[in-house]
């Protein structure tokens, strides 16, 4: 699964229409818009650093803000061979991240859809798997849930824990079924993750409209 996206030609910098980014038909207009936004965020630098994201006021209230920003710098998401965190990303990388949020297209066949789905899930999985070991351990899951719930100051940390524990147990029962007495469920692997998502329409969920329509409603 993971190697499927390797070797994809890089997006050429600039505003030329891109056709090769995972067969994503992004119009030049969209790229221009994204490029403008990129320059705005980076303050006319060639790369964006983490601090640049602090300047977005709307992001401030997002409970999982840290995780999302982190995902932008995660080398796994950037389709680089290496692992770990990038210090800064250029526009190319920015586009790569954005391409995870493409909507499906009418003319996609089954195989494309499947790959598409897996990529989106991979993005989510990487966000959860913060120590890059290919497993979402209980502790990692707890952190995510805690962050998700951090918007509600009245919920105790403890409830976040028990929710994460419950979710983990559920995941274990979905993925492994009946376990032997000596078995230990160490964490959710990506295969398990896929299993958990079976039958759920991710296609309808992880989309942002601006990548679909030629007209971009709001530019600044």
């Amino acid at each position: 699964v993971g190697t499927a996206q390797m070797g994809v030609p890089r997006v050429p910098r600039g505003s030329a229409p891109v056709t090769s980014l995972l067969s994503l038909a992004v119009t030049s207009e969209q790229i221009e818009h994204l490029h403008r936004r990129f320059k705005q965020l980076s303050q006319d630098q060639l790369t964006i650093r983490k601090e640049n994201f602090d300047s977005i006021p709307d992001l401030e209230f997002n409970p999982i803000r840290g995780k999302i920003v982190h995902a932008f710098f995660d080398k796994r998401n950037l389709r680089q061979e290496s692992d770990g965190l990038a210090d800064e990303i250029n526009f190319e990388d920015f586009l790569t991240i954005m391409s995870y949020f493409r909507p499906i297209e009418m003319n996609m066949d089954e195989e494309q859809l499947d790959r598409f789905r897996k990529e989106k899930l991979k993005f989510l999985f990487h966000m959860y798997d913060s120590d890059h070991d290919g497993k979402i351990t209980l502790q990692e899951y707890r952190n995510v849930v805690e962050e998700l719930l951090s918007g509600n100051p009245h919920l105790e940390k403890e409830s976040a824990r028990s929710i994460a524990d419950g979710a983990m147990m559920e995941a274990a029962s979905i993925c492994v079924g009946q376990m032997g007495p000596d078995q230990v469920y160490e964490g959710i692997t990506f295969e398990d993750f896929l299993k958990m998502w079976q039958g759920i329409d991710i296609e309808t969920k992880m989309h942002v409209r601006f990548l679909n329509v030629d007209t971009i409603a709001h530019c600044y």
Binding site: I64, P181, E186
Partner: protein
């Protein structure tokens, strides 16, 4: 009686008073049919319809092929025929007033209230397009085409109608009907998106229909010569007024409703009433100022639900749900049946083949064309495009129903000359769409392989991921600087959280309001219920000695924490492990909780046999079930953990050895003297304990009583998983209780002598490490205070005396307070605990960490303060001493427990 207008136009009971019509002396019985006629007929019709439903569902084969609405219409036709044959004239028919005032509101409220709001607003763009543009297109196209047909001379010359008449007819015949759509689509199970689009359209097109109908009606009345350009402008303006006004009315009442339910804490029993009443008033208010009443109720339902559900109690929620469903379902039944009955009345309609066939053809074709065109445009904007199959279903699913029929009946024959023709056509169209299309849509959906809705159970993971998605998408839109749908939804949610929810939700509800948490809670309850359903309620003493419990020997070797750490960080779900090596005493304390909780049921006993119109008290069976349920959950969790997560696997061998012995101990009930060896090598004295068990039972029952009296106050508590309160209190209470009741057998004294009965709880202990660590420890000090201050009030004098004696004797015995004396005494008080649930000391905190409901904790914390004014009542109700304090203990204990837990996390 008000609904009487309903079941038939023919029966308007003259309000004949049972006045003295010159009776010949005193009457023994009197025939009073006239007085009860109207309601009686209503009841009879509803009964017939409901019985018919039963009959339909006797055969699965029939109902799986034929939709219920079809069957009901056919039944109505049959009944109408019978009535016609008997009475020689058509007696009953669907009265428009009755339909709009009584039959329609429940259905619309039901669909609005239970509308999946997220899905609805996600697709609001498409829904609005189809509802507004689609309906406009349909009515104008159909009207004009029919007019063209008429001009071409294809229709009977008896049809006297101009363009306006046909447009009027087009407006009423083109609206997709919510009742019919719901009735058919509920049985088809297409995917959610498709369903919500068709159904949402049918609800929201009401505004368009109402406006068009009214505008054309007034145009017809004015006559074509008198229509000015301003009238057209007015027509357009009235569309916005009617739709937006209706929505505004709905929102206003939703707000009021949510606000009112915020203050119904003390009148729980009438909570459901408010929901129905305010929604109905919203409908009437909108109807009164001729706004769109359907829109008003729909939006009232959609918007109030979140807040109302959070405010009202669990029972009220269930009541609302079932009452709403019952009302809607019976309304629907009556509507379809009366549609059938009304059709029999031949005096009202005149047939014209060209008009009927033309209308059928046009509505089908124009709907299909409209859907295709609109979808083409919409797909350019939609994230998930609607494919061709969806479009076919949408076109074919445009069912017409009772709304069209009621509207056509409302026409004025003087003004609309062709009314009879229109009535006939409407009836045919309604019957055709409901019966023919309703019958064929299911095979069609199967044949086209339309994506069905998958009925997978909601999972916690899914909910979590979905929330993560929402945040990610909002964040991406923020980063890109695109103010799209997610951006605005995120903004709305923030606004809702900051202001609306605070204003409209009860404080208690608001604090714990969280969707993820709700799902977690619901799933747990569901799991638990299914577990109990599977026969988990058979609880025997043998089961107490589950192999999952870690045995004592292994425990003494290493601390719990170490064990858990060894078992692998990834799998260890028990992080709330106490990070100190425990003293023996602590273990025993915990063990005691466990025995008390694990082995005792609440006995059936006299309890508050009160009748109240205003409060529903939980019956005994329910409380007992709750208790069983708790225990089962606990047990199940232990098994689960041990098997799945391997927490205790290292101990399993030792456990097995112990198992048999434990059972023996547990099962032994009377007259057994036990000599046991503790791991420390201490030997115990023989302990006769025949009477201890009954005493313990009593104690526990009192515990339960106070506990449940508390839960009773906080009605919506639902099911509580961990009865920690009970345990903690038990822990603190048991020994004094044992002392009070002269049944305990202290080891060194003859039964009944209170003087020597040791009660470590009353010893004011110096704060020890263990006390800080173990929450129930702290209660001891509190207890002493409680006892001294409160007992004097309630307890009979002789008991007081004995009590005081015991206290003073204790003080003399154990005046140097120390930890050492504690365990000694405790051991005497309840010898059972010595060996038995060694595991308990560990299992208990662990598993509470996994499966507890902190909501309960804070709730009961609240409920304590809430219930404090009720204190005196409680005293009266529970004449036994100390129960009152017990009632108040749990919150304290829990609060401590909570603090303690938090500390341990740090």
């Amino acid at each position: 009686a008000e609904r009487s207008g309903g079941s038939g136009g023919a029966m308007h009971p003259p309000a004949a008073s049972p006045g003295p019509a010159a009776p010949a002396g005193a009457e023994l019985l009197r025939w009073q049919w006239r007085e009860v006629q109207a309601p009686c007929l209503v009841a009879a019709w509803i009964l017939v319809a409901s019985l018919a439903k039963i009959v339909f569902h006797l055969s699965r084969k029939v109902t799986s092929v034929v939709p219920e609405s079809c069957l009901l219409i056919l039944l109505g036709l049959g009944l109408g025929g019978i009535v016609l044959a008997v009475a020689k004239k058509a007696e009953y028919q669907l009265e428009p007033n009755m339909f709009f005032l009584f039959l329609l509101p429940p259905i619309v409220l039901d669909s609005g209230y239970f509308m999946p709001s997220r899905l609805f607003f996600d697709n609001i763009g498409a829904i609005l397009t189809y509802a507004v543009v689609g309906t406009l297109w349909n009515s104008f196209a159909t009207g004009t085409a029919l007019w063209g047909l008429h001009r071409a001379g294809l229709m009977d010359p008896g049809v006297e109608a101009g363009l306006m008449d046909f447009l009027l007819f087009g407006s009423l015949i083109s609206a997709v009907d919510p009742v019919a759509v719901l009735a058919v689509f509920e049985e088809v199970h297409v995917n959610e998106t498709l369903f919500i689009i068709v159904f949402g359209e049918s609800l929201l097109n009401d505004a368009v229909t109402v406006v068009l109908y009214k505008v054309f009606n007034s145009f017809v009345e004015l006559g074509p010569a008198h229509i000015h350009a301003t009238d057209y402008v007015k027509g357009v303006a009235s569309f916005f007024l009617v739709s937006l006004g209706g929505t505004a009315v709905g929102l206003l009442f939703a707000f009021l409703l949510a606000l009112i339910t915020r203050f119904t804490k003390r009148v729980r029993i009438i909570e459901p009433l408010f929901v129905f009443l305010l929604a109905y008033v919203a409908y009437l208010a909108a109807e009164m100022v001729s706004l769109s009443a359907i829109l008003a109720v729909t939006f009232c339902g959609i918007c109030c639900k979140k807040y109302v559900e959070a405010n009202i109690s669990q029972k009220s929620r269930t009541t609302v749900k079932y009452t709403m469903k019952t009302l809607a379902s019976s309304s629907e039944t009556i509507i379809f049946m009366f549609l059938g009955i009304s059709a029999v009345d031949t005096s009202k309609w005149t047939w014209d083949t060209a008009l009927v066939l033309g209308t059928l053809f046009f509505i089908l074709v124009f709907r299909a064309v409209g859907v295709v065109l609109q979808t083409y445009v919409l797909n350019r904007f939609r994230l998930i495009p609607l494919d061709r199959i969806d479009q076919v279903v949408m076109s074919y699913g445009g069912l017409r129903g009772a709304v069209a029929f009621a509207l056509v009946i409302l026409l004025d024959r003087e003004k609309v000359k062709a009314k009879d023709y229109f009535v006939a056509t409407t009836i045919v169209v309604v019957f055709f769409t409901v019966i023919v299309q309703g019958l064929t849509i299911k095979p069609l959906v199967t044949w086209l392989k339309v994506k069905r809705s998958d009925h997978h159970k909601p999972t916690l993971n899914e909910e979590l991921h979905e929330h993560a998605f929402d945040h990610i998408l909002a964040a991406v839109e923020d980063i890109v600087g695109h103010h799209g749908y997610h951006y605005w939804r995120d903004k709305w949610e923030q606004f809702d959280k900051k202001y609306l929810s605070q204003l409209l939700m009860r404080k208690s509800a608001y604090r714990l309001r969280d969707e993820i948490w709700d799902v977690y809670y619901k799933l747990n309850i569901r799991d638990a219920i299914s577990f109990v359903d599977q026969g988990g309620h058979v609880l025997s003493a043998a089961k107490l000695a589950l192999p999952s419990m870690p045995s004592r020997t292994s425990m003494s070797e290493s601390s719990v924490t170490n064990l858990l750490r060894e078992s692998g960080s990834g799998a260890c779900l028990d992080l709330q492990v106490i990070d100190t090596v425990r003293s023996r005493r602590d273990k025993e304390d915990a063990a005691m909780h466990h025995v008390l909780r694990g082995s005792l049921y609440k006995p059936r006993r006299r309890y508050k046999a009160s009748y109240s119109r205003h409060f529903i008290s939980p019956d005994k069976q329910e409380r007992q079930d709750k208790e069983i349920f708790r225990q089962n959950m606990k047990r199940r969790l232990e098994t689960f953990k041990s098997t799945k997560h391997n927490v205790c696997s290292s101990k399993s061998k030792a456990r097995l050895k112990e198992k048999g012995r434990k059972k023996a101990i547990l099962l032994s009930q009377k007259g057994i003297s036990l000599t046991k060896e503790t791991p420390n090598g201490k030997t115990h004295r023989n302990v006769p304990w025949q009477d201890a068990a009954p005493v313990l039972v009593m104690v526990s029952s009192e515990e339960e009583e106070s506990d449940s009296s508390e839960t009773e106050k906080e009605d919506d508590e639902g099911i509580v998983f961990v009865a920690r309160a009970t345990d903690e209190v038990l822990q603190g209470k048991t020994t004094p209780e044992l002392c009070k009741l002269p049944l305990t057998v202290p080891p060194s004294a003859s039964p009944g002598s209170l003087d020597v009965c040791p009660s470590p709880c009353i010893i004011p202990p110096s704060p020890t490490l263990a006390e800080k660590e173990l929450p129930w420890k702290g209660d001891q000090a509190d207890l002493a205070v409680y006892v001294s201050s409160e007992t004097t009030k309630i307890v009979p004098v002789d008991m007081q005396k004995a009590w005081n004696q015991s206290i003073s004797s204790l003080e003399s015995i154990a005046s140097p307070p120390g930890i050492e004396s504690g365990p000694q005494h405790r051991r005497f008080a309840c010898p059972v605990l010595e060996e038995q649930p060694q595991s308990a000391s560990q299992a208990m905190p662990e598993q509470s960490s996994c499966f507890q409901f902190p909501s309960h904790i804070s709730k009961s914390g609240r409920s304590q303060s809430d219930s404090s004014p009720d204190g005196p009542e409680q005293q009266e109700l529970q004449p036994l001493m100390a129960t009152e304090e017990q009632g108040r203990m749990p919150p304290t204990a829990e609060a401590r427990w909570l603090m303690f837990n938090r500390a341990s996390h740090l």
